[in-house]
């Protein structure tokens, strides 16, 4: 817990260095056959190209016992319908779709790791608009340890682009 707070504090301190392609994010998270309760996703995005971005998120239990499970997600996302990050050649798009892939896993409560692929069918906003709302993200996670496939989703996420 202390380490998590420290990591978040450092992240917030160094945020201005990467402005403004950097966004902090909060969203929902759920998976098939997951434990009862409410999970949330706290993350960060960094634009590495007009359509490409890096994603790093922590997934944790909020209720009934806060922070009793902890997972992480690290990957890349690609905007299908246009550029999201500012560039000299194209105008940023307001509404788009994303596909993404990377590695995710749990390290508190249970231990597993594996690759994932995901799609976000509707996203509005972006760097230009300082706020982005992503809805109905769905993905498949292959748990290498248990040799199983899990469907997960995030109904809604809000990304705040830092000035």
């Amino acid at each position: 817990m202390r380490k998590t707070v420290l990591v978040v504090a450092i992240l917030l301190l160094i945020t201005p260095l990467f402005a403004s392609k950097f966004a902090l994010s909060i969203g929902t998270y759920d998976a098939l056959k997951s434990e009862e309760g409410l999970d949330a996703q706290l993350g960060a995005f960094y634009g590495i190209g007009p359509r490409w971005e890096l994603e790093g998120s922590l997934i944790t239990k909020i209720t009934p016992k806060p922070f009793t499970t902890m997972g992480a997600k690290l990957g890349v996302n690609y905007s299908l319908l246009g550029p999201v990050y500012k560039n000299e050649k194209e105008v940023s798009t307001y509404a788009t779709m994303y596909v993404g892939a990377g590695v995710m896993g749990n390290f508190v409560g249970s231990y597993d790791v594996g690759p994932y692929i995901q799609i976000t069918p509707l996203s509005v906003g972006g760097e230009e608009f300082r706020l982005r709302e992503r809805t109905l993200t769905g993905g498949l996670y292959y748990n290498v340890i248990k040799n199983s496939l899990t469907f997960y989703w995030s109904l809604f996420s809000l990304d705040f682009f830092i000035k």
């Binding site: 909060i26 969203g27 929902t28 759920d30 009862e36 309760g37 409410l38 999970d39 949330a40 909020i62 209720t63 009934p64 806060p66 608009f129 300082r130 706020l131 709302e133 109904l155 809604f156 809000l158 705040f160 682009f161 830092i162 000035k163």
Partner: protein, 171 residues
């Protein structure tokens, strides 16, 4: 019925002519509870907001909505009636420079009564504290809000978290 609909449509259209502030909007939110009143799984909240005194910053807002459990087969949806009010407005808030749009932090307190859809019984009452509620004019976003819930049937208290909430004013 047709006449009522036409009158309502005209009312909504004409609202903008007399507008001194936002009057009607919708709300979506996501809750998790640790209370005998609710299942432990996530609960979605959708509803309508009615601003009673649009010209006033601290105007009370009437909220009518429904609480929809994730597992709708296990637990029935509920109806909620609430009243929300801003506590104070902080224009130079800590995230001011992070938002592109003009914003203000406006913590809110919301009191609600929750009823069953199927029978006329009072299910529970709740107090929602929204310290991180940010207003952008036509939109309000709240994250990390806390609930205090009272269950009338079990006569006990519980708590909950609203991970996020979005209020969008339309008229």
């Amino acid at each position: 019925m047709k006449k009522v609909l036409i009158v309502l449509i005209f009312l909504f259209i004409s609202l903008s002519l007399f507008a001194t502030g936002w009057v009607l909007g919708y709300q979506v939110g996501l809750d998790g509870y640790v209370s005998s009143s609710y299942n432990l799984d996530e609960i979605f909240q959708v509803g309508l907001n009615l601003n009673l005194v649009p010209s006033k910053l601290y105007s009370p807002i009437i909220k009518v909505g429904t609480l929809i459990p994730k597992n709708i087969n296990k637990e029935a949806p509920l109806v909620n009636f609430g009243l929300s009010s801003g506590v104070f407005v902080w224009h130079n808030h800590l995230l001011k420079n992070a938002f592109r749009r003009q914003s203000a932090q406006m913590p809110r307190i919301e009191a609600s009564l929750i009823l069953s859809f199927t029978e006329p019984v009072l299910h529970s009452a709740s107090l929602l504290f929204k310290p991180f509620n940010y207003t952008f004019g036509d939109k309000e976003v709240a994250v990390g809000s806390a609930y205090l819930v009272y269950n009338f049937e079990a006569n006990d208290f519980g708590w909950g978290i609203r991970v996020f909430e979005i209020n969008h004013w339309l008229f």
